[in-house]
């Protein structure tokens, strides 16, 4: 179902069972519940033969590919999944122009759909081409938010505005200190600076990967 369709292609339909699985997956992504610790342990056991073993060369290479994909936005199965889950868990607000454009397309699609015969209980899967689905959902995203997480009520900030505000910038470390420096305590000051900027870099990485 992840294959993209060219614009104008006939939408793919899912069987009832597949439709149910997709709906469940989307619900779990939208409003995840806590995992039973026993299930969690079982999943780890299944995923790792030896959880404490050092990574193999293949695992290291794969992690590099995943990191690169997350940083550059290129395609990678793991990165695609991470981005999809991120969008489901903490959707970014749309800018006003885009939301209007999508709403217009949705309205047009609804008018077209009204003229067509009833298709039954199906799900249209067309990530690249099904403008109606994307537009409808985009419109829904403007007014729906998962419990405990927030879109701003007036979610009109653009992505280009939102992202830089989350990036930690290089700046003086003076704010880390609230008293004059003691002679002979330089190491503890460098410790504090290094730890603070390590947190900043970690935050920047998560932000650039879109996972925060």
């Amino acid at each position: 179902m992840t294959d993209r369709q060219p614009p104008g292609a006939a939408p793919e339909v899912l069987a009832l069972e597949e439709e149910h699985e997709l709906a469940q997956a989307l619900r779990h992504a939208w409003a995840p519940t806590a995992l039973d610790p026993r299930v969690n342990e079982r999943l780890i056991e299944l995923a790792l033969e030896d959880p404490l073993a050092p990574p193999t060369e293949e695992e290291v290479a794969e992690s590099v590919r995943l990191r690169d994909a997350l940083e550059t936005g290129s395609e990678h199965a793991g990165a695609d999944l991470a981005r999809a889950l991120t969008a489901a868990l903490a959707p970014q607000p749309l800018d006003q122009d885009t939301s209007k454009r999508l709403a217009r397309r949705a309205t047009a699609s609804e008018e077209r759909a009204a003229a067509e015969p009833e298709r039954g209980n199906v799900v249209y899967v067309a990530f690249g081409a099904a403008a109606a689905v994307a537009a409808l959902a985009a419109a829904v995203m403007l007014v729906i938010q998962p419990a405990g997480r927030g879109l701003e009520p007036a979610a009109q900030a653009t992505m280009s505005e939102a992202v830089p505000t989350q990036i930690a910038l290089s700046r003086s470390t003076s704010t880390l200190f609230d008293a004059k420096f003691e002679v002979g305590r330089t190491s503890s000051r460098i410790d504090r600076i290094a730890e603070a900027r390590a947190r900043d870099l970690r935050k920047n990485r998560y932000t650039s990967w879109g996972v925060r």
Partner: protein
């Protein structure tokens, strides 16, 4: 669950997945994720190069601690000089400049303890070049400058050069005054930033 509900959930999810890939560019193309190192309006993001430098500086200072504990200040100075003498940036970010300044202050302190006053002076001057803003770093450098002059005065006096010792004592007093003045301005600025009395 009704078919209508399923369709609604599916629609929401499909759009989120599509938007995750494409965000909100009007032309429908994916907006590339911002890279950590790309400059933004308002400053340069904290980058891995800075962390690498800070990690190196941290190791050097802890190594210097051990050398000092072992009563080997020469080795402590040598390891600290690796931080300030080996260029790490063409244009160091402010955090790096502040670490350079603090490292120079420590080198000056150690050099003057061993009565190597000229290298101590050079380190103070180099540190002040790095910490030009009114910060604790600059105030600390003047404090160390005062200590250096105080030790120089003691050394000169010990060797019978009373006149030169008095000059160093005067310089020490001036440096301590400057340090206190800078620290007072730092505190005043901090209070003003916090909304307190300017």
């Amino acid at each position: 669950m009704t078919g209508r509900t399923v369709n609604a959930w599916a629609a929401v999810g499909c759009a989120m997945l599509a938007l995750a890939a494409g965000c909100s560019r009007a032309d429908g193309e994916a907006t590339p994720a911002p890279t950590v190192c790309a400059p933004f309006e308002g400053g340069t993001p904290v980058a891995p190069e800075l962390l690498a430098f800070l990690s190196r500086a941290r190791s050097a200072h802890h190594a210097a601690d051990l050398h000092e504990e072992n009563k080997n200040p020469e080795k402590a100075v040598a390891v600290l000089r690796k931080i300030v003498d080996e260029p790490a940036f063409s244009s160091p970010p402010i955090e790096a400049r502040e670490v350079f300044a603090d490292t120079h202050a420590r080198i000056a302190d150690l050099e003057s303890q061993s009565e190597r006053f000229d290298p101590a002076d050079e380190s103070i001057d180099a540190g002040l070049e790095m910490a030009r803003e009114v910060t604790f770093f600059r105030g600390h450098l003047y404090e160390i400058k005062g200590l250096v002059e105080e030790r120089r005065a003691a050394s000169l006096r010990k060797n019978g050069n009373e006149a030169a010792a008095n000059v160093s004592t005067e310089r020490a007093l001036e440096a301590f005054e400057q340090s206190m003045d800078i620290q007072a301005r730092v505190i005043k600025n901090a209070l003003a930033d916090a909304g307190g009395p300017p």
